[in-house]
Subunit: 670 residues, 2 copies
Amino acid sequence: MSTSGRVVKRILIGRAMRSDRLSETLLPKKLALPVFASDALSSVAYAPDEILLTLGMAGGALAVTQSWKIGLAVAFVMVIVVMSYRQNVHAYPSGGGDYEVASVNLGPKAGLTVASALLVDYVLTVAVSVSSGVQNAATALPFLRGHEAITAVVIVALLTAMNLRGVRESGSAFAVPTYLFMGAVIGMAGVGFFRSAMGNLPLAESANLTLAPESGYETLGGFAMAFLLLRAFSSGCAALTGVEAISNGVPAFQKPKSRNAATTLLLMGTIAVTMLLSMIVLARLTHVHFAEDPATQLLRDGAPVGDSYIQHTVMGQVAQAVFDGFTPGVVLVSVVTGLILFLAANTAFNGFPVLGSILAKDGYLPRQLHTRGNRLAFSNGIIILAAAAAGLIVLYNAEVTKLIQLYIVGVFVSFTLSQLGMIRHWNRLLAVEKDPAARGRMGRSRIINGIGAAMSGTVLLVVLATKFIHGAGYAIAAMAVLFVLMLGIRRHYDRVRDELAVHEGDTKAQLLPSRVHAIVLVSKIHKPTLRALAYARATRPQVLEALTVNVEPEETKALQAEWDRRDIPIPLKALDSPYREITRPVVDYVKSIRSGNPRDLVVVYIPQYVLGHWWEQVLHNQSALRLRARLLFTPGVMVSSVPWQLEGSDQARERLDENRPMAGDVRRGS
Amino acid sequence: MSTSGRVVKRILIGRAMRSDRLSETLLPKKLALPVFASDALSSVAYAPDEILLTLGMAGGALAVTQSWKIGLAVAFVMVIVVMSYRQNVHAYPSGGGDYEVASVNLGPKAGLTVASALLVDYVLTVAVSVSSGVQNAATALPFLRGHEAITAVVIVALLTAMNLRGVRESGSAFAVPTYLFMGAVIGMAGVGFFRSAMGNLPLAESANLTLAPESGYETLGGFAMAFLLLRAFSSGCAALTGVEAISNGVPAFQKPKSRNAATTLLLMGTIAVTMLLSMIVLARLTHVHFAEDPATQLLRDGAPVGDSYIQHTVMGQVAQAVFDGFTPGVVLVSVVTGLILFLAANTAFNGFPVLGSILAKDGYLPRQLHTRGNRLAFSNGIIILAAAAAGLIVLYNAEVTKLIQLYIVGVFVSFTLSQLGMIRHWNRLLAVEKDPAARGRMGRSRIINGIGAAMSGTVLLVVLATKFIHGAGYAIAAMAVLFVLMLGIRRHYDRVRDELAVHEGDTKAQLLPSRVHAIVLVSKIHKPTLRALAYARATRPQVLEALTVNVEPEETKALQAEWDRRDIPIPLKALDSPYREITRPVVDYVKSIRSGNPRDLVVVYIPQYVLGHWWEQVLHNQSALRLRARLLFTPGVMVSSVPWQLEGSDQARERLDENRPMAGDVRRGS
């Protein structure tokens, strides 16, 4: 690579890092919280909006009277799920995530279902978080409006580059924005409640508008009304995504790992619930009106506000009101909200390749995704995730409200199967445990996981019922496709393993060839050829000959003349090729040797030169590569590549040796 | 491949064909004419339109008074160029195209310039011909209107599939549509002139409209007027593309090759000129009004006809008039016009890969494009051509008028350099020729080529002057990029050749290694491993050991246990890998062997299994491939792949063996 090329690469992908710098200290709770919580906490940036706009479809009154109830329901689910996962953390201190819990206790297909669900949800985490982040940013940066999708795609690309670069995550990189966000939101809530108590809380910018129902929602019957409430609840449950992260990351905690992880989980749940409820209450206190379709639903003096009206996020409107237009406060809330959302998206960039590597280890994904110490595996995962998320963003034009319809279903599939698995786990342990105290603990845990399973299952059904036609169906379809694909890959691996297995008495593979017939392929006399001849001679085969294909008679004649002139002590045989092919005459010749002496081993030596750049490589050795590929299909043949390293190849070697930290290192405690 | 997969592939790409069916008889003149003329003749379908609409920019009067003069000027150039190329054909009976003539006589850079120009023009031939064909088809098939670009791309895709399939061209496949087209156009001209003489030639559908000048062209000064005439002339010169085809194809002619080729060239020129002039005259006789922007320029009773007016091609309007609305006649003209245009596009699919192969032979393009008998080479050429043409079609929305601004400049670069080369050619011969009769012939040829060079050069300047800002500039830029790229590739090849050359006294490459140290890589004990061990033992190296990388300690322990249980008579060494890498420990170990005994040869045996599908292949051997790639950069190492053929690999072998006729076979006389 040229110097300028290396500089560009260094800027984009980063300086190579020695692998012994990879090791990392374990996380204390105060760092573990921000490392694992950004996904769960960030949803407070969009969950209230989704609850309000869904309720608002039936007009302003419903949002006022019901939003806090929905918030409480979500908080209730959150408490149950957190309690349940505290059991997981204690039972699987190895960091067995939902995939492991479901696989071990419910069987591989349940595990694979969880895996499919989580893979889909990782993609949606990126799409939703980045889209919401851009929407928030557009509140402060008006020039982004109308370009949300492209901005979101650019941010996904930046996150991708950052993760490909092997960014060295550190607890503090997470801590600063996460604590700032918690501080900003809880501080804002404190100021808001105080001002409200004092009676001087200003109203939101949309307070003086009225919210008209969407057409078709003007008068809702009891059933339709219940359905709408459930839909709002489903959207609010987005606050629960990310709760499972800690259960995957127990090994990254300081000792006592399980206890610290359980404590952190409780802390996270408490903070998330507090923030969500605060936002909902603040939105009510400041009279925020938030609509799915603001141009037609929001009325000023009875007339729709029209397309020129810009509906800021709930977070933005509340900040504007609480801080009474005090710009630094509003900007701080807006900036940290954007940061935490991108951090949340980044957690998916960590989780996706790690899950992929676990699945690859179990044979459900291509095995090369497993190999640790192989950047390529993680890079592929990162690129697949980014491409899928960018595709969704473009498809849904970065509209959070639309994307959120696909979201959560995966998380709740995973929650439900994990909790069901935990019940089985306790059943198994209870079957053998004699100690009454331990039995008591296990029984209590089983009850908690049972409640968790029932609750998660119910929410899953609610999500499916209310969102299936709005998008959750696509998420289910994507999971099904992944499930079938991964099952097919596993079956393929199993089939190959069976075919390769050595059975007793099956000696075909161990048969020692009687003689070695070596063939050196020669196209012209240059250094690689001479080296190949020398190497072939060094192995002292019974038969050794050089072989060339007569494509251009004059060239062959010149080659033969030079061969004689140089007194090369190996016979040169020229194969005729009426159709100017190279591969076929060689393969036919090799076959003819084998058919004459079927127990002979034919070793074909192919001189090959190695260059510095992949694009240089493209210009060379193509006939050799094709011939090599073809000979691999011919039984009884071994193909030896004799490399000649050209100048510049050492740079390519250096590139191959590069080693950098990988996404997810911190949270795996490696 | 599954049975259904094979059926689908057979339908799309065609049945495999034995290579001995490739041979083809040489072409008599009556078949050579249609084989080589479709490109040149087809331009009569769009050249008159472009002349008329360019003149029409200054209003209807100019088109009426000047179009026949432009036609005559084009015809004059055609005569000169045809006369000149008759000299080429006699001087280079080997089928030396413009590239060879320029390279031999003016040097490699001139040749490369011609090559760049021709490559660009091949792309434009496809784009222009297909777009024009679709425009013609839209006359008859109204549902195509508004979907021209996508239809054109689909047709390019069909042509691509046809050529990838290795369609067996035959003279008659060209003959029928070409002769039909000639018959239809000349027959139509005959009927038209006869009816005109009889005084009962109907008028065209646009005869009762008036043609208003475009804004800015209402009153043109003398200079602007001359410029507009030259621009119309430039567009008309599209009729000359394809004239050079015969000079490339002399070897495909029956004997006496040169004479037959020269006669065919003359015939083609005569027919092309006749058809072009006939169309221009017929357009005038039937009062065709043809505008660049019909909606605003064409006036009915003084008012613009508007967007609803559909402007049919000149060919379509003339046919409608001459045949008096007799539908079969109109449809015949429209269908054969479409056919000849697609045939013209197809000639580029033949020419592009052939030129690519010649350039590859000379080291200007990747060498693998050269190898005859290698479908891949031609397939790559076909795909590159199709992609570039489709890109242009989409970019220019299949509008012939826009595309034609880029066209021709390449052809005239090629004409000019070729004719300049011919002058040099005669100069060289005249310097040694003594026979006065021969000298006289050569002198006459030189004069003709001199006139040809002057004429082509002048037209080139006119084309550049009138079209540079309208698009020809892009064509020039594309040529420049290709030129630099090809020069770079050539330099790279030269550098590598010098580096690989064996100099006297340079014995490093011939050094016989003192000992062979064989290493068999083992990941688990299965058939490929056992075979690799057997093969390695058969070569009787001085040192032989099996090597595994300890990534998972339990797995390594199990492997060692099975190794002992099976009593394998080769020591198994386990390398530690703290970072769970595979490549690095192996490479380091190999290096340590080499540094201890620098004259040793290390042979690394990699067991590898071969599967039937590329996607199966992706699931396997990736660590082995990466390791192999890395070891090739390590000096003193040879990498031997020991293949184990799995079930299904025979199907993949069959696919590799497929052999079909290739694009351009007929016109290369092979």
